[in-house]
Symmetry: C2
Subunit: 101 residues, 2 copies
């Protein structure tokens, strides 16, 4: 695992880095948009990747998105990505599988 994915950042640094409040950060977690790890004592630990994710979420909210919208869109995207993967696999298996157009 690389530096970007290692969950080592505490709440204080996260609020500094993102400009968000603790409340916001915890709420986005409650809604399943970020998944920090926990220390034995229960403190949240985030990765740099999580920090970027939080900023992305906050930006979309400012743009008028709702949290449900964000989750919805991403669910669909990952579904499409799965479809593309399967299509790719079929493609190499049978060189005749029809792709779009």
């Amino acid at each position: 695992m690389d530096y970007k994915s290692k969950k080592v950042i505490g709440m204080g640094v996260v609020t500094d880095l993102t400009g968000l409040s603790e409340r916001q950060v915890r709420y986005y977690e409650e809604k399943g948009l970020v998944l920090p790890e926990r220390t034995k004592g229960g403190s949240r630990k985030y990765s740099f990747h999580d920090v970027e994710r939080l900023i992305e979420v906050a930006t979309k909210l400012e743009d008028g998105w709702r949290i449900q919208d964000i989750k919805e869109r991403e669910r669909r995207l990952s579904t499409k990505q799965r479809d593309d993967m399967i299509r790719g696999q079929l493609n190499s298996a049978f060189r005749t599988f029809p792709t779009k157009k």
Copy 2:
């Protein structure tokens, strides 16, 4: 600044990552071998680079080095590096400056 150099890691994670005690980590700082940043409240914050540095220091201590030895050696190394830099600059200024051999 990249992820590796950003000082965002608290003491707890540092001891987890290095296997060192808080005492050791603070002592190496006292001796000038690592230079964490501080939060407003006074908590130390380390980078991934610092973490690797701490492991390196601890390893050398296990190998019988003394902290002063470690600092001494590095002082000399950086002096040599400075010499090399200056030699390089002179080299490009006067293509005749004698390099070793």
